[in-house]
């Protein structure tokens, strides 16, 4: 039935007014832009929070407005916003929505109405999250991992209502993601155009697809953990709450298991790393291939590596819990499975490098970000090998080494890919080109800046500087160089913070003043650049769906007229 519908425009929801076209829209492209703007908006809040944290850490005491409670709240909200509400929402809700139908040759997602609901639920979850800033006691300060019993015990900032808004917001987010994720997965499986086999899909789609499947299986654990903690907090149950001495009194709770929460949280939390990373892997593969004018090296290996990483990531969660007091034998198993993930990941890194090898590299802004991603990702991956080993992790856990590691590998790396991807697809989305010079300035400040920020953090971590501390004060084991390094990191962070203004200025300026974009400015072979209109019209493909004859990576084919062959070009013309 899907086949007969594919060329038929009837099942599409046709907007009749400005409101149905741009507000209550069921068009995947509009929903993608709504998702992206909301995600970037809430991401800016997280960015400001990080700047405030750096002000406190770099110049302790200079800003009396930042109290210890505030600092903990900034840490928690920054972490949760970045991981869930920015990265997951932007990569899957934003890029997933925009790219999947266009890259596989569909007119829209399979259930546009559910897709629309997904966005409005997401917006609701963001509103509930932000409401946390305005409830009595402020947002939660329990750290982004929200470990009980401290998250809901007296003494933790935001234990009154902040934790409630956070948990409710997460539960709504899971509902929103489920509606979106079902659409992404079903669309990829059932709504591809003629000739588009799974093994002809661009790696971006593979990454987003695998991440969506993982999200559908990992977010349930977060949902359950959030529900149970809400019960603990609001109904006084003892799921996670043991008997404790709190504020000089014995708590009425009895026999709960705080470790259970950690298991549930990280059963979500570790796949979440790859839910963010896999779309980034896929997108960066496409950026590298297009701008190096070479087919991606080892396409099949790349696909299988994505799938295998996705599967393995469900078997490694407790490597976040080496110091939690769980059974020590678990450490052996989880360290082994963690190190095994390094194999498919290394395959991907080698294949990116081999794609660049003897390529016709154009150092345009998207490509710069893609190459920068390889640097930061290798860097963060290598420090991950340290932390994956139990004996090395134990002294390093809860230090700045951990902060440096996960910021490199799942903070900076996906964000660089997102920048690259926005620079890359903007001409298709809005039909305008960016200012190249401004883009390059933005790139160099950001790229060098993140190294200035996060390299010294490794040093702090090895010295044993603990994370999540409001101020270090005069502590015997902490040398003067730590305070100097902290000040340096803060200055670098503030420069990078300000440099993002260039990005936003460029984005908004180009929307109105940028030169009109060619339908295919980079000479890309994949389907989304072959649409009849730029930006693509409602229904994407005009009267007839495109037919696909080849994979998405026919670049610099010997004997071909141009240095790329679009997926829609029939095979017979090759070498004629």
């Amino acid at each position: 039935m899907a086949t007969t519908l594919a060329d038929d425009l009837r099942p599409l929801h046709h907007p009749h007014s400005w409101v149905t076209r741009y507000v209550w829209s069921q068009d995947h492209k509009v929903i993608a832009i709504q998702y992206s703007c909301t995600a970037i908006g809430i991401g800016l809040v997280a960015l400001v929070l990080s700047a405030l944290m750096r002000l406190q850490l770099g110049f302790p005491g200079a800003f009396p407005a930042i109290q210890p409670d505030n600092y903990l709240q900034f840490v928690s909200m920054h972490g949760m916003i970045m991981v869930v509400y920015l990265l997951t929402a932007l990569l899957l809700g934003g890029f997933g929505n925009y790219l999947i139908p266009l890259m596989i040759g569909a007119r829209d997602m399979v259930f546009p109405f559910v897709n629309m609901l997904s966005y409005w639920f997401y917006l609701l979850s963001v509103i509930v999250l932000v409401a946390g800033f305005f409830v009595p006691g402020g947002p939660t300060g329990a750290g982004w991992t929200l470990y009980p019993p401290q998250a809901i015990s007296e003494g933790t900032p935001g234990h009154q209502w902040g934790i409630v808004t956070m948990l409710v917001s997460l539960a709504i987010f899971v509902a929103a993601f489920t509606m979106g994720g079902l659409n992404y997965v079903t669309t990829v499986l059932q709504a591809r155009t003629k000739g588009m086999t799974l093994m002809r899909m661009p790696l971006s789609v593979w990454g987003i697809f695998t991440a969506s499947v993982m999200g559908l299986l990992a977010f349930p654990a977060l949902f359950v953990a959030a529900i149970m903690m809400l019960f603990d907090h609001l109904a006084g149950t003892s799921f996670f709450m043991p008997t404790m001495q709190s504020m000089g009194a014995i708590t009425p709770t009895e026999g709960g298991s705080p470790l259970l929460f950690q298991h549930l949280f990280w059963f979500f939390g570790h796949p979440e790393v790859y839910i963010v990373a896999l779309p980034a892997f896929g997108i960066v593969s496409d950026l590298i291939s297009v701008h190096a004018r070479r087919n991606i090296f080892g396409y099949r290996m790349m696909v299988w590596a994505i799938v295998i990483i996705g599967a393995l990531s469900f078997l490694v969660w407790a490597h976040h819990m080496y110091v939690s007091g769980m059974n020590p034998y678990f450490g052996f198993f989880f360290a082994t499975s963690t190190l095994i993930i390094a194999i498919p990941t290394a395959i991907k890194v080698y294949n990116w490098l081999l794609t660049l090898w003897r390529g016709d590299i154009h150092l345009r802004v998207p490509m710069l970000f893609a190459i920068a991603f390889i640097f930061t990702f290798i860097h963060g991956g290598l420090s991950g090998l340290f932390l994956g080993n139990v004996s090395v992790d134990v002294p390093l856990s809860d230090t700045f080494f951990v902060v440096a590691h996960f910021h490199m590998v799942m903070g900076v790396s996906p964000v660089l890919v997102i920048f690259g991807a926005i620079y890359h697809w903007y001409p298709k989305i809005f039909g305008r080109m960016w200012n190249d010079t401004l883009g390059k300035v933005h790139f160099w400040i950001t790229f060098l800046g993140v190294y200035a920020i996060f390299l010294p953090m490794h040093y702090l971590g090895i010295l044993g500087v603990p994370r999540r501390y409001y101020a270090l004060g005069e502590t015997a084991f902490i040398p003067q160089s730590v305070h100097l390094a902290n000040a340096w990191i803060s200055v670098a962070a503030l420069i990078v913070f300000c440099a993002q203004g260039l990005f936003f200025f460029n984005m908004i300026w180009s929307l109105f003043r940028g030169p009109r974009a060619d339908p295919n400015p980079w000479g890309a072979a994949s389907l989304e650049w072959q649409t009849p209109d730029t930006p693509p019209a409602h229904g994407n493909w005009g009267a007839k769906l495109p037919v696909v004859y080849r994979w998405a990576y026919d670049y610099s084919v010997p004997g071909a007229a141009r240095d790329f062959i679009p997926q829609t070009e029939p095979r017979t013309e090759l070498g004629a």
Partner: protein, 228 residues
């Protein structure tokens, strides 16, 4: 008489067909309604939710400091002077499993375009669902008002007993409630001839998938919570 095909003769072509489907263009699951594919994927996700609830419950049960109440005694009913363990739960389970049977028949008659029988069977399924919910309400009332069990307190031992009981059966009951609503909506559309006009009775089957899933989950809750 022809020889029955051997296992190898069946498995080989089946595997080849699966490989062919996954390497084909357009659709992985051939001629499958988009909604049906999505419902299957949703149920997979929902399976993980219930698995997390049940694993969480089992973890808490094995680490609880106070003794766990004997479910056979707690959920026994006094009938005619005899205490019969789990009798209400047995009837609830029977009602729910019967409803799966009527649902399957409804799907069958749906594909035969028998509007009247499909409607009646779906309504019957919904009625079984409501019976289940009614008995669950009775069970909750008895537990709360006669036994004094609360989510935060349990006079018979571990407080986690009450907490996980209300959470898990409540979440399942919510699923049944949604299922009953879904069945009623689809049944009314069947009755009004909506699917005769579109020529597609898939919605009945999709609702059926969800309903069977809710039953299956109950079997696991029954086994892990009541029988353990």
């Amino acid at each position: 008489m022809a020889q029955a095909p051997s296992d190898r003769e069946i498995i080989g072509p089946t595997l080849r067909e699966i490989a062919a489907d996954w390497s084909a263009d357009q659709e992985v699951f051939r001629h499958t309604h988009w909604g049906k594919a999505m419902m299957w994927i949703f149920l997979l996700s929902d399976t993980f939710i219930f698995s997390c609830f049940l694993t969480g419950y089992m973890t808490m049960r094995s680490s609880a400091v106070l003794p766990w109440p004997d479910t056979a005694k707690v959920f026994a009913l006094d009938i005619g002077g005899h205490e019969i363990p789990l009798v209400l739960i047995a009837i609830m389970t029977f009602a729910l499993i019967s409803s799966s049977g009527t649902m399957a028949m409804a799907v069958n008659f749906g594909y035969q375009r028998d509007r009247r029988k499909t409607t009646m069977l779906m309504l019957l399924t919904a009625l079984f669902g409501l019976t289940f919910l009614g008995m669950q309400a009775f069970e909750w009332t008895k537990l709360i008002f006669e036994e004094g069990v609360r989510p935060w307190y349990n006079p018979m031992g571990a407080p986690q007993f009450g907490a996980s009981f209300f959470m898990i059966t409540g979440f399942h009951g919510l699923h049944v409630t949604c299922g009953v609503l879904l069945l009623l909506i689809i049944a009314s559309k069947v009755a009004r001839g909506h699917y005769d006009r579109t020529g597609d009775y898939s919605a009945v089957e999709i609702a059926g998938l969800y309903w069977h899933f809710v039953d299956l989950v109950w079997v696991f809750i029954f086994a892990f919570f009541y029988l353990w």
